[in-house]
Amino acid sequence: MLADLAISTVKALVVLMTVLSLSAALLWVERKGSALIQDRIGANRANIFGGLLPFNLGLVNTLVADPIKMFTKEDVVPVSADKVLHFLAPCLAVFPVIVTFAAIPLGDVLVIGDRTINLQVADLNVGILYVLAMSSLGVYGVVLAGWASNSRWALLGGIRGSAQMISYEIAMGLALIGAVMAFGTLDLQAIARAQGETIAGVIPAWGILYQPLAFLIFLIAGIAETKRVPFDLPEGESELTSGFFTEYSGSKQAAFMLGDFAEIIVVSGLATTLFLGAWQVPFLARDGWHFPGGISLAMPHLAVVVLQLVSFVVKVLILSSFQILVRWSLPRYRYDQLMNLGWKSLLPLALLNVMVTGTIIVLLGRS
């Protein structure tokens, strides 16, 4: 009983730390990566360990100096703002995003002695629904920030944000339904395990092979949910200064940024789990490698677990970096284009995907 409690606590802490450190990694990728894309030098202050390297990576600048600056800044609350809700909004922007990760499996099982630990905080029968439910709560941070600031820019940003997030949530949910139909379960760990099999003994049976359209729709809707370019109308700095978080400064604004990065990681984590084989490494089973052609190679259990964790994190980082690449490459949509894409393209395509998937399942006679 006590050991179970300790294991659960450690698992929750590990997941929390994973999300936070991945967010920090993304912060660096965003700062230096955007500089690379735009042919700039980028963050180059506070070059404390600079003498060790021939070029400046900007690590101290982006990961130490800037956060310290942000958290020690004066926290300004507008006089006419609703104090309680103004405080609550950044919390609501971060909390639902981070708890979403509880349902996403980071690896298979870890066996210590006679104890088998599932590398997932909450093994839920309705995992995907839990993820969707929690991410649907994320919109309150945006809405409340917009309303509680009592500022026109913020309110406009908040209203745009809520309309956008509701619109794209539908396409996102329907894309997931296609994947759920293909795997026949809502349990994320079961979906991850199903992707360990191979098609014809050669190709890993990743979800993207069964559901390419769903993957595309999910990724686009996911980027729209994170409210970043090309879908950053709630922020829209050219017309709304900073949109819904215009009236936030210091650590509260940092909280919104953290929520932003954590959201990218959740979208990437979910896309990885459903479409890119989750924590699976191709041909790596619990007891070692099984290559096509009957070649097997045994491997110690701990090494397998570490490889799985690394595989998951690497996939998440690649997808997240892709989202950052998109953010720095594309111009912003116009508002009617945004709504047309969501309602007139993604939604019908997602419905079509569900229909086609259903038809194929019936034709193949799989129940």
Partner: protein, 167 residues
């Protein structure tokens, strides 16, 4: 353990539900309703109904209430004066009192042990996606389809109403 958790939850649900009714500010009322719905979902989890709990948060707390807030914010409703009223308000008050007293009477009756119903026995897998889906698409197929027809009518109605305003 279960009883203590339920008592705590029940207290929180009632407190936030009362806030919905009693708070003069419409935005905070709506937020209290979000909290109420979320806490009800937690109650469902205690009752092993995970599917319903997830749907409760997904549909009610996460989607419908956002629309409520959206409308309240767009209309920029101000804090209400509780003393204001008209004939419609008086009618509402009477209806609220009648409904409240009837509900309280039923609660007292149940508390006294009369008319209480024993909970139905649960089968393995109860509350999961499969059990809910099976009963939804077999035993309750007709009401389920009827509900979707009702929703379709509502959607068509909403589209027609919105069109008229544009013209």
């Amino acid at each position: 353990m279960g009883t203590v958790a339920f008592a705590l939850l029940a207290f929180l649900v009632l407190a936030s539900a009362l806030t919905v009714v009693l708070h003069p500010n419409p935005v905070k009322s709506a937020l209290a309703l979000v909290l109420t719905l979320f806490l009800l979902a937690v109650t469902f989890v205690l009752l092993e109904a995970h599917m319903i709990a997830a749907l409760q948060v997904l549909v009610y707390a996460g989607a419908i209430m956002v629309l409520f807030l959206f409308v309240i914010m767009l209309l920029n409703l101000q804090t209400e004066d509780p003393e204001a009223g008209g004939p419609a308000r008086t009618g509402l008050r009477v209806a609220a009192w009648v409904g409240g007293v009837a509900l309280a009477a039923q609660l007292v009756r149940l508390a006294l042990g009369r008319g209480a119903v024993a909970p139905a026995p649960t089968s393995p897998g109860f509350g999961g996606a499969e059990a809910v889906a099976r009963s939804l698409y077999t035993d309750f197929l007709f009401p389920f389809e009827l509900t979707s027809l009702l929703l379709l009518v509502a959607v068509i109605g909403a589209v027609i109403l919105a069109q008229r305003r544009v013209r």
